[in-house]
């Protein structure tokens, strides 16, 4: 089992969610996060004084999936979240040791 964490632009959330649902993924966790990479920040001007805002609003999507679904999901996110501009985000993949469904006590892939 793998955990896929994708940091994407907030405006792309709906597209990504719909595309993942079409591919049979029905569970995900999203978080409103802030950060920056190569995009750096942007400038806000209040009463003539400039402030550089370093952290930009982003959405983090977390999915726990079976190993054989990983490539399909990565491709789906790449297709839907990409604008071609800096700040499109990143995808991180990591291994998951165990998943347990609290309601039934099921473990492993059955619990995803």
């Amino acid at each position: 089992m793998k955990k896929i964490e994708a940091i994407i632009k907030p405006t792309k959330l709906e597209d990504v969610k719909k595309a993942l649902e079409k591919k049979g993924i029905h569970g995900m966790t999203i978080t409103e996060v802030k950060g920056f990479g190569r995009q750096k920040g942007y400038i806000e001007v209040y009463r003539g004084k400039e402030y550089e805002v370093r952290f930009l609003p982003k959405i983090k999507i977390e999915l726990i999936v079976k190993d054989d679904e990983v490539e399909k999901i990565i491709n789906t996110i790449l297709e839907t979240a990409k604008t071609g501009n800096v700040g499109d985000g990143k995808i991180f993949i990591s291994s998951i040791e165990e998943v347990i469904r609290i309601r039934t006590g099921e473990r492993g892939e059955e619990a995803i």
Partner: protein, 414 residues
């Protein structure tokens, strides 16, 4: 109960207008200024900022009745201060009236003036927020109200020496905005800069709401200062709206040209600058004068905040000096230029008389000097008595909402 015949001497229209105006000006402090200042402050200091307006309104409401009204509008003593005959509203009755407002009962005149005193003190807080201790603010408020506001209100509105000389201030360009603005600057210099001197408003929607309420309330402030529901109130009403709108547009255009984007904060700031600047002139100028005053207000206040403030390097948190001080001073001076004798008898330089301009200059000079000196003395006194005027650096970092009040403006989780 007084004889009904005695009450007939009052004009019911004037009395009704003063009742409404008083409620409108009350609304300027709560919620107007509280939202305007609260939205401009950091999220962690929003409640403390609002609390400073709130507690000030309560404090002045009590002490105005106790001695404020008497010292400002009581029997004149050597042109310097009012007498004590009206403490606790002692000699006010249902049939008494103030010398300057004979067509309305004295009770409502006194309450109308109360709302001016309250917002003036609350205005000062804009320069001190995000660092001053709440207890110090309360003590300062009371001392400043007693030693700066009351004498100045008496000198200009209560028959004191400046009024006798001929200095005029229709609704508070000198009494309200100059005193508050100068004291804001002096206090900001004494308190020294915050550790984080950014002005990144935590909620601009509150700022817009507060600005709208201030603008709305300002009709009571300026048109109410005619102290009657007659012609003078109507031109003051027109001038107030005209200057506010033109200042707002000019600030917006200047910002758009220089910084490439028209900010909402610019629109709001321009509005307040226009309102503060037209205040002393609202009942003396015609609509051309109001338009020009609005344009000057927008430009000068914008320049003072966007460029001059950065050069002088003082930390007036919410620009109480940059908007109210600068606006109040140029507005009070503008009476000397733009006063139209067909409106309210006084002629400015552009209507053939330079005399009023010199009087206004003298009046403004005296008030700037007096406000600055007394504010500095009050802070010196507070420093000797209480040692620390500011919250400690850790509390400043955490925010004054939690450290001063044990509350948070926003509890989004749970």
């Amino acid at each position: 109960m007084p004889n009904p015949q005695e009450l007939l001497k009052f004009d019911t229209g004037d009395t009704a207008w003063l009742l409404i105006s008083t409620a409108l000006v009350m609304m300027m402090t709560l919620p107007g200024l509280a939202l305007f200042y609260g939205g401009l402050s950091k999220r962690k200091d929003a409640l403390n900022t609002m609390a400073m307006s709130f507690v000030t309104y309560c404090l002045i409401s009590v002490f105005w009745v106790v001695y404020g009204y008497s010292l400002a509008f009581g029997h004149d003593i050597f042109g310097l201060i009012g007498g004590f005959e009206k403490i606790f509203f002692k000699s006010i009755t249902l049939t008494s009236s103030n010398e300057g407002a004979k067509t309305v009962p004295e009770f409502i005149f006194a309450m109308f003036q109360l709302t001016f005193a309250a917002i003036t003190v609350a205005l000062v807080s804009g320069a001190y927020i995000e660092r001053i201790k709440f207890s110090i603010w309360i003590t300062f408020s009371l001392l400043w109200f007693t030693m700066v506001y009351l004498p100045v209100a008496h000198w200009i509105w209560g028959g004191g020496f400046l009024a006798k000389m001929g200095v005029v201030d229709f609704a508070g360009g000198i009494v309200v905005h100059t005193t508050a603005g100068i004291s804001a600057l002096i206090g900001a210099l004494i308190l020294k800069a915050r550790n984080d001197t950014t002005l990144i408003p935590h909620n601009l929607t509150l700022v817009v709401l507060g600005t709208g309420l201030l603008w709305f309330g300002w009709f009571g402030f300026n048109a109410g200062s005619a102290l009657s529901a007659k012609e003078l109130a109507t031109i003051a009403f027109v001038n107030t709206n005209t200057a506010a709108a033109s200042a707002s547009l000019i600030w917006c255009i200047a910002e758009w040209l220089i910084f490439k984007k028209p900010t909402i904060l610019g629109l709001a700031s321009g509005t307040i600058a226009g309102l503060a600047t037209i205040t002393p002139a609202a009942g003396y100028v015609n609509v051309y004068g109001a338009l020009i005053i609005g344009v000057i207000a927008g430009l000068v206040c914008f320049i003072s905040i966007a460029f001059v403030k950065g050069k002088l390097n003082y930390d007036d948190t919410l620009d109480a000096f940059g908007i109210h001080g600068v606006g109040g001073i140029i507005g009070s001076l503008s009476v000397g230029f733009f006063a139209d004798p067909s409106i309210n008898q006084i002629a400015g330089l552009f209507y053939g008389s330079a005399a009023q301009l010199w009087l206004q200059l003298l009046g403004i000079g005296i008030i700037i000097f007096y406000s600055a000196m007394v504010t500095a003395l009050i802070f010196l006194f507070l420093k000797i008595i209480f040692k620390n005027l500011r919250v400690n650096p850790e509390d400043e970092l955490v925010g004054l909402d939690e450290t001063q009040h044990g509350e948070r403006a926003y509890n989004l989780h749970i």
